[in-house]
Symmetry: C2
């Protein structure tokens, strides 16, 4: 009998029909009666509750729609369930956003635009070059690889930090996870493109921020919790020339809790819009790649982007 795919996001008919070649499909929100969760074998999801996961006693595969799988309620994911991320599905969009933040900070676009709207064309201070500068790319998955490629086009010195070189990012230097200090030391810029795992949570603390140049820029398009917020806020207050350019937040549910960061003048902020929320076409591409990976599994092939449970527990 065909497997049952439970999908918590809505699919376009052509995507749904790709799954229906191999499986029965139920989309959350569709009119037909909801299936017995105990019979679900494949879950394709964004957010999911612990209760729902507990009820899926026959679950074999969780295919996340988002590039990161950190939001899963991991203590409710059985050890034998395969979990696949959607890594790479939004890499172009997120890498573009990283450079939008880096360049806007370096060239002081927000500062000047707001002054000109008031009729003030005075030129003050200096902009920062990318050319020739040292940039650390933290995380060498699909997003980090794209960031490194674009950084080379800007003629930057690219320092890679990650588990391996498998992504073939064009790096001038490479450091493994045990050498984060060596990767950050003396860098003008850094881009956080890491997944949030038990290894990366709190990776960037006060001491490690201090290794970067005082007039540096840290771009975060990965996950907020990779940076220790209190350390960052202190570092930014002490180093007014250092800029934190950020798309991801510690507390999206209650943004006021992050005001100690975003209210500082040396920050540049967007509201988690680099990836899925950037444009409809990016989200559609993410769904397309997620469906393809599920089809891979339904055909008996090994899905891509299988994550290690141990990294998230």
């Amino acid at each position: 009998m065909q497997k049952l795919v439970y999908c918590t996001v809505r699919l376009k008919p052509e995507l749904r029909s790709k799954l229906e070649k191999y499986a029965r499909v139920f989309e959350l929100g569709e009119e037909s009666p909801a299936p017995d969760l105990a019979k679900v074998e494949v879950l394709m999801c964004g957010p999911i509750t612990p209760q729902e996961l507990d009820a899926m006693k026959n679950l074999e595969l969780i295919q996340c729609v988002y590039a990161g799988v950190d939001a899963l309620p991991w203590s409710h994911v059985r050890e034998d369930v395969i979990v696949a991320s959607n890594a790479g599905s939004n890499a172009d969009a997120v890498a573009e956003h990283a450079f939008a933040l880096l360049l806007a900070a370096a060239k002081r676009v927000v500062f000047f635009d707001s002054r000109i709207r008031g009729g003030n064309f005075e030129i003050v201070g200096e902009s920062r070059m990318l050319h020739g500068r040292r940039i650390c790319v933290l995380g060498l998955g699909a997003i980090g690889t794209r960031v490194a490629e674009i950084a080379k086009a800007f003629k930057m010195h690219v320092v890679g930090y990650g588990r391996s070189l498998r992504g073939a990012a064009p790096l001038d230097e490479f450091y493994t996870p045990d050498r984060v200090e060596d990767a950050l030391r003396g860098c003008d810029y850094a881009v956080i493109a890491l997944p949030l795992t038990k290894h990366t949570r709190g990776l960037i603390n006060y001491q490690r921020l201090s290794l970067m140049r005082r007039d540096g820029i840290l771009v975060n398009i990965g996950r907020a919790q990779i940076v220790v917020k209190e350390d960052l806020a202190r570092f930014l207050r002490e180093n007014p020339s250092f800029i934190y350019a950020n798309d991801v937040w510690w507390s999206m549910q209650n943004p006021a809790e992050d005001s100690d960061v975003y209210s500082l003048p040396n920050t540049l902020s967007t509201p988690w819009v680099a990836g899925a929320a950037s444009a409809r076409e990016t989200y559609e591409e993410m769904l397309r790649q997620a469906v393809e990976n599920v089809v891979r599994y339904l055909r008996g092939e090994k899905p891509l982007n299988i994550v290690k449970h141990e990294d998230y527990r």
Copy 2:
């Protein structure tokens, strides 16, 4: 006898000594008495007055410090004087600024940053991708070539517009000056990196703007006068999704005269800071390249970047 070089900008001692190997040098503002302008053979300048030029009856070479030579009082430049621009000396800085403007507009950085400072994290509207989009690079000198190279790293479809392909820009399509409409038609984005000459003044008018996509972005890091201001203001008012991202202005002396453009919501503005005014290091590099070109002349070699008088008269 050694030639006399009159320099209207101040040079670092090491740059001055490069010239002094081959010439007598006077820098405007230095303490020694000013030379008789009639004896000046080489002029290295930023702004210069018609009266000064008229007085330089033995002038052989004008080396401009800026990439553009349009600000020279051309009707006072004798036909036999060689005029060299400083093209290429700030190409990296200006190309970076072009992408700072393009990406900030595409990803709505100013909009979101200002909302977040007010505690508003709401996600509204859509960002625009660079990946896969059609960008027209108007002008294929050093700046345009760098813009095209970076655009390829963003996986864009690059349409080049210029006199020739000598710069080896990585283009998907190429159009000569008589085909500006074909170059602009259907483009999502365009970057103006042209010099201001009698051929490019007013090149971008209402009808040509209308050839671009209605949700397009026009970046100007060349010269304001290449765009017909009244046409642009009308086009922006009629097409609220189209964005003009601009570093160069029609009336820097009296910015209020350009408020019909910069006060519109669909503009993004910086105050002519892409090149010489971006950072001290960019300006120093411009001086270094200008001095090298003068040295070339003093040694009896042909200077680089000689412009045609007829393009500016």
